[in-house]
Amino acid sequence: MSKADQCPSTVHEGPKHKPSKQELSRERRSLLSSVSGKVAWRSSDEIADTPQFRDFLEREFPAGITELFTGSRRTFMKVMGASVALAGAATLPGCRRPDHKILPYSATPPEDIIPGKPLFYATTLPLPRGGVEGVLVETHEGRPTKIEGNPLHPINRGKSSVLAQASVLSLYDPDRLKAPVYFNRKRNNGAGERVLATWDDFVTWGKDYFPKFDKSQGAGLAIIVDKKSSPTRDAIKASLLKKWPKATWVAYDSTESVHAAAGSKAAFGAPMHDLIDFSKAKVVLSLDRNFLDANAEPRGLVHARDFASTRRVEDPTTADMSRLYVIESGLSLTGGQADHRLRAAPSKVVALACELAKFMLPKLGAGADAVVAALPSATISDSERKFIEECAKDLMDGAKKGATIVVAGEHLPAGVHAAVHAINQALATTLVKFATMSDELASDSRAAMATLTADLKAGKYDTVICVGTNPAYDAPDAKAFADAFAKLEGSIALSVGQSETTAAATWALNGTHYLESWGDALAVDGTISPIQPMIAPLYAAIDAAGNPTGQAPMSDIELLAFIAGDRRADGTARDGFELVRATWKSKLNAKSDADFEKPWKRALHDGLVAGTTGTGATPKVNLAGVAAAAKDIKLDAAPAGQLEAVVRAGWMHDGRFANITWLQELPQFGTSVTWDNPALLSPKTAADLGLLPASATLEEPNTMYTKEKYPAGRVAEFEFAGRKVTCACWILPGVADGVVILTPGYGRTNGGLACDGVGFDIGSLRGDASSVLSGVKVTATADYHAIASTQNHWSLEGRTAIVRAVDLQTYTKFAGEAMKDNDEIYAGIAAGSLNFAEKLGELSHTPPNVSSYDNPYNRSAADLNPNDPNYNKIPARGHKLNSKTAQPPNFAIGPQWGMTIDLSTCTGCGACTIACQAENNIPVVGKKEVAKGRELHWIRVDRYFAGDYYNYKDSASINYNEPEYIFHQPVACVHCENAPCEVVCPVNATVHGNEGHNYMVYNRCIGTRYCANNCPYKVRRYNFFEYGLHKFNGDYVGKDLIESIAPDRGGISGSGTHNKINPNLIPPRLREKLDEIERMQKNPDVTVRMRGVMEKCSYCIQRTNAAKIETRLQDLKSPLGTSWVPDGFVQSACQQACPSDAIIFGDILDTTHEYKDADGTRKGSRVHAARLSRRSYLLLGYLNTRPRTSHLLKVSNPNPALVTNEHRRAAWDHPFHDGGSHGGGDGHGNGGNKEHAFFDERRKREDKGYALSLGVLSSKAASAIGGGLA
């Protein structure tokens, strides 16, 4: 895949003679999206030499090709006509036949590359606000296709976040800037015109331009970079500011909140990162801190991993589990995991924090009287006080001393952060240590940006350089910035993607993606890691032979170094490789160059510098400082009728990730909304303000999904401090009343086809205020805005067998017995006993497979009793299938693949969904298709709000305003051994494999969709359209016509406004295909499905097969002499990404091999152990589908003192509901059963009727349930 195979005459299949309007309009876009800039922009010299161009040239730039920005159609036509003529003229000999060039691995094949086999390289993903992830990049013949976590990196440990997974797509973003664009002010009669340029042009320009600051010492120069920790950039910054001390350097992140830094500064004298070790936590109180979310915190992955380790209870006799209290304003990932969750507006969270401190500090004898005195007094309700006090008692529990911690969220004022540090010190917690935070990260950049904007307006700067930032969109006063910036001669914007800032800049420079550039990064714990390129910059200028020529696109450090005058001996700019090595020479303590190479190579190989990971220190809290900070705490709630708004960054962060379609379509936490950023309100608040979605009611808030074809949120106008924005409103159970959650990063205007016009830009509401806006006025407008969500039902409808959950109290009391307990109903029918989870919930049991025939499917691993002597008997190799002697799969022959998903630790973060999307070439479908329920994600995370879970109430009785539980249940194809889909497929397109896979044969599938209908899990996904093969929101034939007929309906959307045409409805032949760059992301090991074909989770069979090939090549043999894939040798994509390790995949028959890992020695695979867990149950197992994926019961750990719910407490003694306990038997006759089950919906019938039907099979079964049936 190189530029060399692009003969100019063949790359453009379009116009040879006279291009039609349509072709030209298509050309217009492909111009900027073509790999090489092909025809016209190979080099300006070539163009300049052509007579046709002289009319259009001034200096060396061709004119008016920048339709994307402002150029007119007319000039575009002129230039294109000429360029096409040029292309024809220049390449006449090649016109007769396509002249494709291929690059064989011939004479000297690149070392290590085996075509078809991916290579993995370590690099580092820099994330906003100093976040860092160490990643491994899967590259196929040099093109990165998938990101994995780096197992060596302390943040990742092999796991990865949603952003890491999605970052690969931004490399192939078709809307990236392809070449520098220069705004020539002299052209167009002085009105200016944007022209495509080359990096050579910029370098030439810059060499003339920047030396002027030598004289002024940098006065008039402002550099706006994004907040990140990069040693090399810091070094460049230092040298630049040393050279030009009067220059302004702003590290800007619009989503930041610097209260935490200020709080730690008050407490410790310097801003600090906390390094919290949740793995030993016993009690955690989170004050609005979303610490489990890798998207919200640099160490979110670590927290999720550590916290999950405290939530896995197995042995009920020694059950030891952490307890999480969360007080929060919105509904976060962390709140979803809470054992006790209190909704509170931000001001109330502050009040509760103050009360907590006042309650705890004196009791702990921390000598913090000054702090207590300084804290403001707050009024809180009795129930809130009870929550605080019980929580405090739990935190101060002597038995848990040192293992309890309070954490505060970034929205809370600095005083609260300081007070929390004081509390933690008083608690003598051993869980937290601190690492120094750089001044850049601690700085209040929003204030700095506000100042800069004012100065810019005042004319203090003549040169503003935005490096990876987009202040024209997200500055506190973005419009003022953009206007002033656009007027500057020296406005320069370096950006990977298009942005509002590049659109306004004199020089819009196409920066390099992190997968294309050299760099380095510093994690919050001090780990230094390199960024190394996986691929040469995709959009470098090329010469006639297709080789890169001239100055390559620059990364941020390269540009900054160039501006700072950093040059090689020959006067050319140093590249990133040299810059990073120069910085690292000091970091690696290399005495000589020879000394340097080895650790450098080691670091590149490992993806980090060993030994740089800090453990943090435990500085002493300065109580006086805390008291001083506490004095500044304000408790003002919003005035009546007004809201407190919390601005919380989502996956788009400040908008920089907005053009990543995977992220746009990833269902958002809680709401499952895609392609939008509605303002989130609690149902009650929305009802009070008249902002409920169309057709929703307070009693049954999610009825909009059944009543509206496109459920629509009310558009409202939000006003704060005189600034107004409009945004659609949506309801989310669990948000505090009187609070609105706003998500920035949407409503882009020049970010690309996937994000322009998607959602609402709420950035200007915030101004330079903190992330909490108290006193936002809301006015409902008459408009509605369609909202597409992937999940339209909120309630489990009492189907408690689907998500099984108990409290720890129940688990410790009953789980142990249940394992020993022989089930009376099944005794005599099926061997073995039911575990604890299998006894819970209605319709919970898998019935015995009583067949009239000798059913080969009976020979299932699930049927085998582990105590059976034949259990581990693996038949010899050579089990083959052929058409003559084909036998149904024998599931007793390993390997048999299976999976477990732990509901206790799943946080619902969505990393599995997007990892699967990246691995399996799953296309996005667009907003309208999502609204129709056609998303293609192979693994989805079902989310349910539950009220009084133990009371089996139906949806009508759930208090959606204050749900007691939020459950997350990832569901993918469960690979049933008795798969309902397989029998119904008329063409044998979905069949069973010998290793337990439910295969989906795309070539054979004709798309009857019968399989999907008959799938009880509804995990099959249908390609209703040719989603994967066309450019998202791309051009199509006849677009101009449609736009001319119906301007508001024309165009393309699938994502943006509701009334635009869904591009999928355009016949595929008329649509623009994926360009070759976009195709490069596809995983070559997985088919790209066409339309009309069913698809679904394959258990990442391509990985499994690769692992099997690898192990056979290495001749790995199990002790039994059979071929063997050791546990952990293959991971499914979802498992690999899952930050909390909730997904385990492996060979369920692997019971004998011994493995040694961090947890010690174990026998058998992890998935085997997990399936034998007391918590393991089969989803809808009663259908006898025999899923290979089992789910693990969720256990929560409530504080008995805080559980007031009678049903919940009663369930601690009667977990099997009324009648579910076959072992006990006593439950069967109880009152509920007497009600008329059918019509009162209370579902008191449960197993009684079920057992009745079984009674037909066994009289013993009938007698087992005794009186209940009499």
Partner: protein, 520 residues
């Protein structure tokens, strides 16, 4: 014919008509048209107006030979246009993708299979009338069997369209057939959808054979009449004024080709009768099997609302129900548009069919009730929820109650004789039943799927213009074909109708024998 058959005389007396006088139309509802004899001692006439054998020939051949009324061409053009529009929608569907329909990942079948089952159901009445009523020696079938069979064929054509186009890759539909291929991949014989392929194609083939074979003697009549006219008047009407081709020449040629050399010999008739009986015997189980097998699409699945053992008889009853409603829906207007058709299709016929509607309507009503009962009795939470909460009270409850009203409530008027004998009432009820039977399939398919096991994957289905267009188009195809049938083919089985004339009876008075009289 001057002398009236005594039965006919009684009929006229009971109908309040003076003996020997021809009835005039319209006949007052209270008295009927003379076919509504309710006296067990009297055999009600199956053909009115004292028609002779020749009259029957003239009437039936007249439809195919004489220009139709002015209504025919506009109606045909309209139906044909609708059919073509449906074709355009199908073209768009095939070019663009199944997504142009409104389905989603929860509701993967909706209007497509609804329409398929609807049309297949309609197709049942024809074969039932031809085969089962033939075996049961129900003589009144002779008046309606030909058009009912035609309707069956056309309905099967419409039905067969939908499985063909509803698949995602229509060009791969041949995978469904057991064609030996180099991949050695056969269809999955366990799949009910494959059973459908065989059941429907068998049914279509046998029905077409049955229909065609029944028409052979009538084709021969048409052939001979055209030939005779041509011989008498070689300068008969031309196809087009300037073309020297005679219309009757074309008739003689085409009908002659279709008549397969039929010469009305006794030997022909004997073989014809035997073949007819054999085909009736073959068709009878098919009537029961086809819709049973169609119901297996649902009954063999695991989905609540589909996984139901009552489906085969329930579907067959429903199909007969819907099919008879469609027969009535077609024949009642035909009767009005071809007034002499009323001699052949009498109120008695309509009343009989109304009775069948009542009976089968109550069968489906029983099935609807039984589904609820079993949902409760099974104590299965998902099953119970589907019926108690979804079908009767969910977002598609309107469809469910439409179905109940149309299929269960509306036929109840047929308990009243007046309603059975009043053509407009029968027509309205037939129309309602046709709607109700479409909704029955919609309810079974969509409401079961849109709220299946896991509430996390519940989605609504909303039809699109393409959904609607293709269904309406299929109605256009159906109507187009039926109008062509009315215009060009023998709409009645002449020989069979003649066989039920009083004159055909050996005891008939006017036929030269007098042992009828002597016998008394």
């Amino acid at each position: 014919m001057s002398t009236l058959h005594p039965d006919e005389a009684s009929a006229r007396r009971l109908a309040g008509l003076p003996t020997g006088e021809l009835p005039t139309y319209p006949v007052a509802p209270g008295t009927g048209d003379g076919s509504l004899v309710d006296d067990p001692a009297v055999r009600a006439p199956l053909v009115l107006n004292n028609r002779s054998f020749h009259d029957i020939t003239e009437i039936v051949c007249g439809y195919a030979e004489k220009p139709p009324g002015r209504w025919w061409l506009p109606t045909f053009m309209m139906a044909f246009t609708i059919a073509q529009l449906g074709g355009l929608f199908i073209g768009y569907l095939v070019i663009t993708g199944i997504g142009t329909w409104g389905m989603n990942n929860a509701v993967d079948w909706a209007w497509d299979i609804t329409n398929f089952v609807f049309w297949i159901g309609i197709g049942h009445a024809g074969t039932l009338i031809s085969a089962i009523l033939c075996l049961l020696k129900q003589k009144w079938r002779t008046a309606v069997n030909r058009s009912a069979e035609a309707m069956t064929i056309f309905a099967v054509i419409c039905a067969a369209t939908f499985p063909g186009i509803h698949i995602g890759r229509q060009w791969m539909a041949w995978f469904l057939f057991p064609i030996p291929n180099s991949n050695a991949i056969w269809p999955n014989f366990k799949s009910p959808l494959l059973w459908d392929v065989f059941a429907v194609s068998t049914y279509g083939t046998v029905s077409a054979l049955f229909w065609y074979m029944g028409m052979i003697p009538d084709f021969a009549t048409l052939r001979d009449r055209a030939d005779l006219r041509l011989r008498r008047n070689p300068e008969g009407p031309r196809v087009l004024p300037f073309l020297p081709i005679r219309t009757d020449a074309i008739r003689a040629y085409v009908y002659g080709f279709l008549a397969l050399g039929w010469r009305f010999s006794s030997r022909h008739w004997i073989r014809y009768e035997k073949a007819y009986l054999i085909l009736a015997g073959i068709s009878t189980p098919l009537v029961l099997s086809v819709h049973s097998i169609v119901s297996f699409d649902f009954a063999t699945s695991v989905m609540p609302g589909w996984h139901t053992t009552i489906f085969p008889p329930y579907f067959v009853a429903g199909a007969i129900f819907g099919g008879f409603a469609m027969v009535l829906l077609l024949l009642i207007p035909s009767r009005e548009l071809f007034p002499n058709m009323k001699d052949l299709i009498t109120l008695r016929h309509i009343e009989n069919m109304a009775k069948i509607l009542l009976a089968t309507g109550m069968m489906v009503g029983f099935a609807y009730g039984m589904e609820f009962f079993i949902a409760w009795y099974s104590a299965n939470q998902y099953e119970a929820y589907l019926f108690a909460n979804v079908r009767a009270r969910g977002p598609y409850a309107w469809a469910y109650w439409t179905m109940i009203f149309c299929n269960v409530v509306s036929p109840q008027v047929f308990w009243f004789r007046w309603a059975r004998q009043t053509v407009p009432v029968v027509f309205v009820v037939s129309f309602l039943v046709t709607i109700g039977m479409w909704f029955e399939r919609f309810v079974i398919i969509v409401t079961s799927l849109h709220r299946a096991f896991l509430p996390g994957e519940w989605h609504m289905f909303w039809p699109t213009a393409v959904d609607i267009g293709i269904f309406v188009g299929s109605c256009g195809v159906f109507l187009t074909l039926f109008l062509l049938f009315l215009r060009f083919l023998p709409v009645f089985a002449m020989a069979e109708v003649k066989a039920v004339l009083p004159q055909a009876s050996p005891h008939h008075h006017g036929n030269g024998h007098d042992h009828g009289k002597a016998g008394h």
